[in-house]
């Protein structure tokens, strides 16, 4: 049985499910694998680690897990405080369970990845830099004058405006007008903002088990980044990683990194290649999988 931890409306889960079923492999999309009616038994003792998950009173013999969610607990019927506690408990149990499974888990999460969710580019900078990957200039400031100076300096270099992206969000906003800068200054009175230099047309790529699938045929400069992008994913311990590159005034740079790639960012041919690669990684035709280090 292959478990796709996520929702049926996630095109990645749905696509992998269809491919596994086409190969005659049992698979199931489950948004919350550790809540009722499932029964988890996870034991760590002198004999080592052993875990068992029962569904419908039958043990789920897991051949692989695709992680596209964290095991959300429906708040309906819960007191908010109790729900927050139980959600934290289930998150903690799910992380430990996934970490110790003796089957392929894509992506097998680290605590940092599990609890930080979709980290901002700023959080990835150290790792990107250590692999020699170019990144855009960024400024975090609560000083409106410094924010304006950042915009003026970019303007002098022929770049219009700056992009404001909340560090805890994903949507970026181009700030290029007086009204925009005034709005930003109002926000800065409450918290520092993160500005980035604007970039050109984004070109997303998925790194899947050391292979790269570009959304469309990439330019040679993008191809030249491939070995470094693969090393980045490997160093981050991720089998499935999305990296978006885009032209900046100084050349191509990485403008976004996401450990939860979205299929919707790709045209159908690339979507199919991603799903094929992901399915092959999750359910290899020839099994030669090494159990994780923590499991004796």
């Amino acid at each position: 049985m292959h478990l796709l931890l996520g929702h049926s409306w996630d095109s990645c889960c749905a696509g992998v499910l269809a491919r596994l079923e086409a190969r005659g492999l049992p698979a199931r999309i489950v948004p919350a694998p550790l809540t009722a009616p499932a029964r988890l038994v996870w034991r760590l003792d002198a004999a080592g680690l052993a875990s068992r998950l029962n569904w419908d009173d039958q043990e789920a013999e897991l051949a692989g897990v695709l992680v596209r969610g964290t095991g959300w607990l429906d708040p309906a019927g819960w007191d908010p405080t109790d729900h927050a506690y139980m959600q934290a408990e289930i998150l903690a149990a799910t992380l430990a369970w996934l970490a110790g499974l003796p089957c392929p888990v894509i992506n097998r999460p680290s605590a940092a990845l599990w609890y930080r969710g979709r980290a901002s580019l700023l959080t990835w900078r150290t790792l990107l830099r250590s692999h020699g990957l170019p990144v855009p200039e960024q400024l975090v400031t609560n000083d409106p004058g410094e924010a304006r100076n950042f915009g003026h300096r970019l303007a002098a270099l022929g770049v219009a405006g700056a992009v404001y992206t909340p560090l805890t969000g994903e949507t970026g906003y181009l700030v290029a007008t007086d009204a925009g800068w005034q709005g930003l200054a109002a926000l800065q009175a409450r918290a520092p903002v993160c500005l980035s230099e604007p970039h050109g047309a984004p070109l997303p790529a998925c790194i899947i088990g050391g292979q790269i699938v570009w959304d469309c045929d990439p330019p040679p400069e993008a191809r030249a980044l491939e070995p470094r992008l693969c090393r980045l994913a490997a160093d981050a311990g991720l089998d499935f990683l999305e990296v978006v590159v885009a032209p900046l005034r100084r050349g191509l740079a990485v403008v976004r990194v996401d450990a939860m790639p979205m299929l919707e960012h790709y045209a159908p041919p690339a979507q199919n290649r991603i799903l094929d690669s992901l399915t092959a990684l999750l359910a290899p035709a020839t099994v030669s999988y090494a159990a994780p280090e923590a499991v004796p």
């Binding site: 550790l34 809540t35 009722a36 009616p37 499932a38 029964r39 988890l40 038994v41 996870w42 034991r43 760590l44 003792d45 002198a46 029962n54 607990l73 506690y85 139980m86 934290a88 408990e89 289930i90 998150l91 903690a92 149990a93 992380l95 430990a96 369970w97 970490a99 110790g100 680290s110 605590a111 940092a112 599990w114 609890y115 930080r116 901002s120 700023l122 959080t123 900078r125 150290t126 830099r129 250590s130 170019p134 990144v135 200039e137 960024q138 400024l139 975090v140 400031t141 609560n142 000083d143 410094e146 950042f150 560090l167 805890t168 409450r190 918290a191 520092p192 993160c194 280090e293 923590a294």
Partner: protein, 318 residues
């Protein structure tokens, strides 16, 4: 110059500041009870690491001049109330903290501790896997949503305790008849049970490559709450077997924690079992009871004068 990020009303942060002053190490306090109000930050990332300044009420600190950072983030209860919609205020505070955390991740100096390193503390069983890999013994642990398995575990081990799986603080309690009667509630989600480990509690603080072990004598199951059960607590400095000490240092290093509080128990047969690693230890309790120079070692680390501090600089500069 050392940067301390914390609340001055927090006793641990207050002690760190006092020790830095006592050692003659210069520091600046970014008071998280108020931050970002009253502070000016300009952090600029180009191809290299961050550059820029943090300015407080009467000081300005260049990021380049920071030799070490001590960070102890505050919950909502530690923050000064701010005007405006509570939800928007909380979101903006979260945004301000996220920026500071990102900066600390990327500063090329010792940071006690970077956020990523402490995340394992949010899942005790996950952390147990890492501790075991570092060479520390961990108690027999069961995480289950199956009442029959919980009963069988108790039958196998006799005395069993239960505690939270997550970072949510809970009082460790013995599994008794009252709790057994409520095991049916496990269908809501799994809980964590552990074989009760007899012996004496030992708290270890690793500071860079230095180790301070404190033995705790009490009859209470959870010594942190001994007073609630009417028990006394006594503490003494202790010496660990070399292999245990090395495993503690390895665990802290594996978790990327320059400063860690490690909870051990010394069993009657002399074996040591590890319960968890705290990435932001409230070490004041142990230092005051024993006089162990934990804060002085921390001050040295932040000042960049200890071997681990220098190693950290090289690691981050790669």
């Amino acid at each position: 110059m050392i940067l301390v990020c914390g609340g001055l009303a927090d006793g641990v942060t207050e002690l760190v500041c006092a020790r830095l002053a006592d050692c003659g190490y210069r520091y600046r306090l970014l008071d998280l009870a108020h931050y970002p109000a009253g502070y000016r930050v300009v952090w600029h990332w180009t191809d290299a690491g961050p550059a820029g300044v943090i300015a407080g009420p009467d000081w300005t600190l260049d990021l380049d001049a920071i030799t070490g950072v001590y960070a102890r983030f505050l919950g909502p209860e530690g923050r000064m109330p701010r005007e405006g919609d509570p939800e928007a205020t909380a979101a903006l505070q979260f945004e301000a903290d996220a920026g500071l955390m990102a900066l600390l991740e990327d500063l090329p100096c010792p940071v006690v501790n970077r956020i990523g390193g402490g995340m394992s503390n949010n899942s005790k069983p996950y952390q147990a896997l890492l501790l075991r890999r570092a060479g520390l013994k961990v108690p027999a642990t069961l995480v289950t949503s199956d009442p029959a398995e919980a009963r069988a575990f108790q039958g196998e081990h006799g005395e069993v305790i239960y505690k939270s799986l997550s970072g949510t603080r809970s009082i460790v309690r013995r599994l008794g008849p009252d709790q057994l009667a409520r095991l049916a509630f496990l269908h809501h989600g799994p809980a964590q049970f552990q074989a009760f480990v007899p012996g004496r509690n030992v708290r270890v603080h690793t500071v860079g490559d230095r180790v301070f072990a404190t033995r705790i004598e009490t009859e209470a199951v959870d010594y942190r709450y001994a007073h609630l059960d009417g028990f006394d607590v006594a503490m003494k400095p202790a010496t660990l077997p070399a292999a245990v000490e090395a495993a503690c240092l390895r665990a802290a290093r594996d978790l990327d924690l320059l400063f860690a509080g490690i909870d051990l128990k010394e069993m009657p047969d002399g074996e040591y079992v590890c319960f968890e690693v705290n990435p932001c230890p409230g070490f004041i309790y142990y230092e005051r009871h024993t006089g162990q120079p934990i804060s002085a070692a921390l001050a040295d680390l932040l000042n960049g004068t200890t071997p681990a501090g220098r190693l950290e600089v090289r690691r981050a500069m790669r």
